[in-house]
């Protein structure tokens, strides 16, 4: 999931929260007689005279307005659900474009090469690399499992000076934003086979 979805989630939760709070507070204020009784009496039924009158006189288009609002809410809810699975992953990588044509590369192959580069560090147990973003400004997402006794400073230097540097060269870019998530794990001892 990208940061755009995270921002969208916060906005959606905020708007839904505000709507629910407004609805709940209005009901509480009216029910506890805190609103002017001449306008909003607490003893009146929910579907009292004014509501029935309104839907009676304006019913033809008011119900369609309610239906439209319900459809909009349902569509917004569905869209919000679908974007949860939105991926930042890069589909096709255009390395260069000129009069002779376009040079394309497989992002998966480059990601695998970067992962191998990272795994060349003996402290790295496993590395999973994904290229993300638009083709013109790619970025790297790295999930790294390192030995629990690893010196994190050396690992940081290996990533910056070797792995990401090679990735920049491969992608022919000077800028390569990278997000690395590190997990420390106990390395299982190598298996020995006695023949």
């Amino acid at each position: 999931m990208d940061r755009k979805t995270a921002r969208g989630n916060r906005l959606g939760l905020l708007l839904t929260g505000l709507a629910l709070t407004a609805l709940g507070l209005f009901t509480l204020l009216r029910g506890f007689r805190l609103l002017p009784q001449s306008i909003a009496p607490a003893g009146e039924p929910l579907a009292g005279g004014p509501v029935r009158q309104l839907f009676g006189s304006q019913g033809a288009w008011l119900w369609w307005l309610v239906a439209l609002a319900a459809i909009v809410i349902a569509l917004l809810g569905l869209r919000w659900l679908f974007v949860q699975g939105r991926s930042e992953s890069l589909g096709v990588l255009k390395l260069a474009a000129g009069p002779g044509g376009v040079t394309r590369a497989d992002p998966g192959a480059i990601a695998d090469a970067v992962a191998k580069d990272i795994q060349s560090n003996p402290d790295v147990v496993s590395a999973h690399v994904r290229l993300v973003g638009p083709s013109a400004h790619p970025g790297v997402r790295l999930r790294l499992v390192a030995d629990e006794h690893t010196r994190i400073g050396e690992l940081r230097a290996h990533l910056g000076d070797v792995a990401f540097s090679h990735a920049r060269q491969a992608l022919t870019t000077d800028h390569l934003p990278a997000v690395t998530r590190v997990t420390l794990a106990r390395r299982s001892p190598p298996r020995r086979t006695v023949t």
């Binding site: 629910l20 709070t21 003893g43 039924p45 929910l46």
Partner: protein, 185 residues
């Protein structure tokens, strides 16, 4: 003072509120669809059979705004709304501990559990400490170390130094204060 790179690192690992977002989105989709079906089918003159129109209308016509059950429901809705607002506005605790990288384009974080376990291992490397547990709070690392030694005079300071040294090697953004609690037999 925090740099733009540090702020970006902290932002990158903030919780994304996926579970409440999925639940709220699903509820909105279901409620919106049900209301739309109810209203449209009613307006077209062939109301959906599974919607108790008469029952709903009778309830709404007989229930006043001051009805206690309605007010309890309204209080729950208000609390739910406030909870969603708090969830949206509070940054929340990141799942990863952001680390300095020295490169403004590179963001690095360590899983909170790995971070705590590594600090605990540093404490366990101190002579006399049998086992240790570290709890990570907001820029605080609480170390609980167990020992069989009777004389624990210098032990707390030694553990604190070992954990601080490990913390310095991680170079975590924001820094962490170390508190040590030694427990003997």
């Amino acid at each position: 003072m925090t740099s733009a790179a540090d702020r970006a690192a902290v932002h990158a690992f903030r919780p994304r509120r996926t579970l409440p977002a999925v639940l709220t989105a699903a509820l909105l989709a279901v409620i919106g669809t049900l209301v739309a079906i109810a209203v449209i089918s009613g307006a077209l003159g062939s109301p959906a059979r599974w919607i108790p129109y008469k029952g709903l209308l009778a309830w709404a016509s007989a229930t006043p705004w001051q009805d206690p059950a309605l007010l309890v429901g309204a209080a729950i809705v208000t609390l739910l709304g406030i909870w969603l607002i708090v969830l949206a506005l509070r940054p929340g605790r990141p799942g990863m501990v952001p680390l300095h990288t020295g490169d403004p384009e590179s963001i690095m974080g360590m899983r909170r559990r790995s971070f705590a376990r590594s600090l605990a291992h540093a404490a366990e490397e101190v002579m006399g400490i049998d086992r240790a547990k570290v709890t990570i709070g907001d820029h605080r690392a609480d170390v609980t170390a167990h020992t069989r030694l009777h004389d624990t005079g210098e032990l707390a300071e030694e553990v604190r130094q070992a954990v601080t040294q490990r913390l310095e090697s991680f170079d975590a953004i924001g820094g962490y204060a170390v508190r040590v609690n030694i427990r003997g037999k």
